[in-house]
């Protein structure tokens, strides 16, 4: 396809085709080298030491097919000692900036680079990689098709010995389109990523899980989208790329792996060579911020920085018993990893003498006292805006008390059906049951222009709405798993003995049958008996 866009070059129309879940098949990127780019790109290269590899990275950036006047490269020096410097072979618009004060590590450097640049698209590229000639172009063509894509560049790990390559050679090989000349062998793909792409048809069928496969080495996103998503978490030292992918997902992103071209990663990434230690390090740090990954979240009773569910209960004008039934059911349910936003007229809780049982605000007072010391309940005056970091939002009417498994079941249904909204009927009220909203789906729907009136309909188009029967699926407690009988061991032994005796009998019958049909005497006997 060719890009036909009107208007001034620096203000391209923002394309927003509807992509359902992560199936980006509706986007048809033009073939490499056969289109007219319009968007500018800031290549952000976070670096800490490693001047030699950085020189090679910048040399490869100088050989890109993407127009030089649409490209700027910002190297973020994350406090290297000695400070990094720009080598002679580098793209025309290349700057080096220090990390912003007050932080360190990759996530912080990424944010610093974004803040120091201003092009339409941000492309993050590690300082120990060599980009192939079309690497930037290949990613950029996607951003011309939609403004809510997170594109991941391809990489292969190759052995690297210091001093083996020099920038001039890299520039030449990349420019000629022969990056193979720079490495021995085809290099190694990240095996888990390759398998995931294959299993999920290039992430098209990855659904809500697509963000798991966003990696930091090479990836790009529109600047506005990056800023709306909140950027990287500066407090994260490892795993900040997965967390950044999560934030993109929460903001409605579609994840596109760009595998038509590739790049060399010089040496094995640390995360590959010291896998277990890396995983252990990430578990608490990423785990507390990202409720959808990791096994730690299954610990009963634990709480974390970001809960899995934010429940909103509107207690305005409602009776104490009804609200307490609903909220207590949530707090004591199987999913403890939740926060309750209790909406009500809390200003009516005043100090000083007041009527006791006849106080008009008695239910407000009772509720306030009931949850005053419960850290998971927040008193709010109005329905709060959704917390962008929390993946699920649950809306439930006072008086409806979920069974202990209720929230778990709703999340499981949302995940099993890849739905953006799970709704349930309530007994006697088809439309009044609880609803569980997936933040990622609602963010996508709003981006695509949904108003509050047609939000559910657009969510249905982008992710799907799934209905449950509230009474049987959510409000009725699950049957407890039946205990095995006390004497199971004896019963098993008896059954096994019986089976063995049947087997022996069958063997006996078989051999008798063989004798009767297979031997002359046997057949004679058969005939004699048959006549008789």
């Amino acid at each position: 396809m060719t890009l036909v866009q009107s208007g001034p070059v620096r203000a391209p129309a923002v394309p927003r085709p509807l992509v359902r879940r992560n199936d980006y098949s509706v986007l048809e990127p033009p073939p490499l080298g056969e289109w007219e780019p319009e968007l500018s790109v800031s290549v952000v290269v976070p670096a800490y030491g490693g001047q030699e590899k950085l020189d090679l990275t910048l040399a490869s950036m100088a050989a890109q097919s993407y127009p030089g006047d649409l490209t700027e490269v910002v190297v973020v020096d994350d406090g290297s000692d000695p400070a990094l410097r720009l080598p002679p072979i580098r793209p025309e618009h290349t700057r080096i900036v220090p990390s912003l004060p007050g932080g360190w590590a990759r996530g912080h450097a990424v944010n610093s680079g974004a803040a120091a640049s201003e092009a339409d698209v941000l492309l993050f590229f590690d300082a120990d990689m060599i980009a192939f000639r079309e690497h930037v172009e290949a990613q950029m063509r996607w951003h011309h098709l939609a403004d809510y894509l997170a594109v991941t560049g391809h990489l292969r790990c190759v052995d690297y010995a210091p001093g083996a390559l020099d920038p001039a050679r890299v520039l030449d090989a990349v420019r000629r389109g022969e990056p193979e000349a720079l490495a021995e062998g085809p290099g190694e793909e990240l095996e888990w990523l390759r398998r995931a792409y294959k299993r999920m048809n290039g992430l098209r069928s990855a659904g809500h899980k697509a963000f798991h496969f966003f990696i930091g080495g090479s990836g790009s996103v529109r600047r506005e989208f990056f800023e709306e998503s909140g950027g990287a978490d500066s407090d994260l030292v490892l795993g900040e790329d997965t967390h950044l992918g999560y934030r993109f997902a929460q903001n409605g992103a579609v994840f596109v792996p760009e595998s038509e071209t590739s790049s060399w990663h010089l040496g094995l990434p640390q995360m590959e060579s010291r896998k277990e230690e890396g995983a252990r390090f990430r578990r608490p740090f990423v785990g507390t911020r990202l409720p959808l990954i990791g096994s730690g979240r299954t610990l009963p009773g634990r709480q974390w920085q970001v809960p899995r569910v934010e429940a909103v209960v509107d207690a305005t004008g409602a009776r104490f018993d009804e609200v307490a039934a609903t909220v207590d059911a949530l707090l004591t349910g199987e999913v403890c990893d939740l926060r309750v936003q209790l909406v009500g007229e809390w200003w009516r809780v005043t100090p000083g003498r007041h009527a006791v049982l006849d106080d008009p605000a008695v239910h407000v007072r009772l509720l306030h006292e009931h949850y005053r010391c419960e850290p998971r309940v927040e008193f709010v005056q109005d329905e709060p805006a959704p917390d962008p970091d929390v993946p699920f939002r649950l809306l439930i009417t006072p008086g409806q008390a979920l069974a202990p498994h209720g929230v778990r079941r709703m999340i499981a249904q949302a995940d099993a059906t890849n739905a953006g909204l799970v709704r349930a009927t309530a007994p006697g009220d088809d439309l009044g049951g609880p609803r569980l909203e997936r933040a990622a789906a609602f963010a996508r729907a709003r981006r695509l222009g949904a108003t509050e009136d047609d939000l559910d309909a657009v969510v249905d188009e982008v992710f799907g709405v799934h209905w449950l029967d509230g009474e049987s699926a959510l409000f009725t407690p699950e049957k407890p798993v039946e205990e095995p009988p006390r004497d199971w061991r004896a019963r098993l032994a008896r059954a096994e003995a019986l089976a063995e005796s049947h087997r022996a009998r069958a063997e006996g019958l078989k051999s008798r049958f063989r004798w009767l049909t297979g031997s002359r005497v046997g057949r004679l006997l058969c005939r004699t008996i048959g006549r008789g």
Binding site: G464, L468, D469, S472
Partner: protein
């Protein structure tokens, strides 16, 4: 095993004279030993063979008949008239698909078997069956064969169509590639002998049919490929089935293919064009989802509809279980209507029996639904339909009713309008409506549900191939008005069941007479009918459910369940109005304010999407 039984029978009957016959591919070897021992030559009793059996006036001590498959046995029945009588008869089928009830022979009704001494039915290994009879005096062998054949497929008595003469008096053998390629075949004046639909042996729908079709399949796709000039069905590189020379398909073969997602036909060489077409027509009639390239010119006897279905099929779509089943239903309809034995018989011109006509009984308490309900009836095609409309509690003077009736009659269809006493209960109203109906078959439809144009003709087909006393559609599809949601529930279909819903049932008028019609009840009259039918030993069959959608109204329905009731269990759901393509939804009858704008699909269980 079979040899032992055969020689055992020969000896047990002290047979001095014997007749040994076999039919179907692979059956000759089974009778070789017994023929030798009896000192006679084994006769091939299959179709197209000379019936040199010696005449019906002769009698033998023992007749031994071995059929390879159920279809072979049934095909031999009309050809067995010339066989000698016998006082002992042993019959075997080497392979038959499992059926819900055992194949007990069903004896003739004129006292022919009063001399029966003993009768025995036993199972053979490898899904075969064996029957042995002794009589005091010789009886007609053909009659015994017919009794076994009836028992083997079970179900309602149905007329046995005569073997139709092949359109051009050519057998499949005459049209093998070998013969066609022989010198002198191409006549200068007549040209190449182009086979026609009539050359293809008809499908015995009581044997090869959609019974046993499953919604769930594995991902495996079979390939029908040519291997040394003969078709074989490969699954995962292994031969699952070798297609016989004559292209015949048996019920056991079909039962062995139900796990496949599809069968890809790769139009290679088989023994002859007619045999190849026969295979494909049989598989299609069984509802095996067939895909493949555009069929070659020589496959024209498939008929245009099957030809197009194969040419336009898309294998990758069949991963979706709904699209797979839709494709299967289209294939079976096309094949059964063109190649089915009954369909050919009904269409064979003067002298053929009339196809049974269908009366629809429609009972409504709501004048506003009359127009909608009659539109569902008037769109029925492929069957001769008469309708009885019972207006329960209002008259033709109610608003809109007269117009709806006139619109229906304007389409040239017969309609009886009846205004029963409003005090009558629903069961009695239905009985009254049935009494006013003229069709051989009676179908019940609800006033607020949607029906596809093939709803009735699918039920008629299901009745024909299942032999059941009552057939019904699976009620899988629901539209919940309150939630604006279309649901497809998991209901097992294409099988004998205890229960079908009243919204789409069809039965014979005579069956209703036998069980005493509907009970005079205001609610639950459908279930009572099914109870009565089961008590009388009748059978109930449930066919596919793609051709109807049950409406769950916002209010005023006879049901008392909340919408949530329908959301239980495994299902697939879509926002908005999303019936199966087979419903051929009419835009005039689409529910809700904004029809068809939503296309979401969330699946709880079922096929992987």
């Amino acid at each position: 095993m079979i040899e032992t039984l055969l020689t055992g029978a020969l000896r047990a009957h002290g047979a001095g004279t014997a007749l040994v016959g076999h039919m179907g591919e692979g059956s000759a070897a089974a009778v070789e030993g017994v023929a030798k021992e009896a000192g006679v030559r084994a006769l091939d009793l299959g179709p197209g063979r000379p019936a040199a059996a010696g005449g019906a006036d002769r009698a033998v001590d023992l007749a031994v008949l071995v059929a390879a498959t159920t279809a072979d046995l049934r095909a031999a029945v009309p050809l067995s008239g010339g066989l000698p009588s016998a006082s002992g008869v042993a019959i075997a089928v080497l392979e038959a698909a499992p059926r819900p009830s055992p194949p007990l022979p069903s004896p003739p009704g004129l006292g022919q078997w009063t001399g029966l001494l003993s009768s025995r039915t036993r199972r053979l290994p490898d899904r075969g069956w064996w029957w042995e009879f002794s009589f005091t005096d010789p009886v007609e062998t053909g009659e015994v064969l017919a009794a076994v054949a009836r028992g083997l497929v079970g179900g309602r008595r149905s007329p046995a169509p005569p073997p139709l003469p092949s359109a051009s008096d050519r057998s499949a053998d005459d049209l093998s590639w070998r013969r066609l390629g022989a010198p002198g075949t191409v006549n200068r004046t007549a040209g190449y002998p182009r086979p026609s639909v009539g050359d293809v042996p008809a499908v015995d729908e009581r044997v090869v049919n959609p019974m046993g079709f499953t919604r769930v399949s594995k991902a495996a796709v079979g390939q029908l490929v040519s291997c040394d000039g003969r078709w074989v069905l490969l699954v995962g590189g292994k031969v699952r089935w070798r297609v016989p020379e004559d292209g015949a398909v048996s019920d056991a073969v079909v039962a062995g293919l139900r796990d496949l997602r599809a069968v890809r036909v790769e139009w290679g060489r088989h023994s002859g064009p007619v045999a190849a077409v026969r295979t494909v027509a049989n598989l299609a009639a069984a509802g095996v989802p067939l895909v493949g390239a555009r069929p070659p010119v020589w496959a024209r006897p498939l008929g245009e509809e099957l030809h197009d279905l194969l040419a336009w099929s898309r294998e990758e779509e069949l991963a979706d279980e709904l699209l797979r089943e839709e494709h299967s239903v289209r294939l079976r309809r096309a094949a059964l209507r063109l190649h089915g034995r009954y369909a050919r018989w009904y269409g064979s011109g003067p002298g053929a029996p009339p196809e049974p006509s269908v009366s629809v009984v429609l009972c409504t308490r709501r004048p506003e639904m009359v127009g909608f309900a009659l539109r569902q009836v008037v769109r029925q095609r492929g069957v001769d339909v008469q309708a009885v409309l019972a207006l329960h509690g209002f008259g033709t003077d109610a608003p809109g009713v007269a117009e709806a009736v006139a619109a229906y009659r304007a389409r040239g269809r017969e309609l009886v309008v009846w205004e029963p006493d409003p005090a009558m209960v629903l069961g009695s109203v239905l009985n009254g409506a049935i009494a006013r109906a003229s069709g051989t078959l009676v179908a019940k439809m609800d006033d607020d549900d949607w029906y596809g144009p093939d709803h009735l003709s699918d039920l008629v087909l299901a009745r024909r191939y299942s032999g059941a006393d009552l057939v019904g559609s699976a009620t899988e599809y629901y539209h919940l008005e309150q939630l604006d949601l279309t649901l497809r529930r998991t209901i097992h279909s294409e099988r004998f069941v205890r229960h079908v819903t009243g919204a789409g049932m069809l039965t014979d008028r005579t069956v209703l007479e036998e069980v005493g019609g509907f009970r005079p009840m205001g609610l639950g009259e459908d279930n009572a009918l099914l109870d009565d039918l089961r008590d009388a030993g009748g059978s109930i069959y449930r066919t596919h459910g793609l051709g109807c959608v049950i409406r769950r109204r916002r209010s005023g329905h006879t049901w008392h369940e909340d919408s949530g009731y329908f959301l239980r269990g495994t299902q697939r759901q879509w926002h908005g109005w999303r019936p199966s393509a087979l419903l051929e939804s009419d835009s005039a009858d689409v529910p809700g304010p904004v029809p068809g704008t939503n296309t979401s699909d969330t699946t709880t269980f079922g096929s992987r999407r």
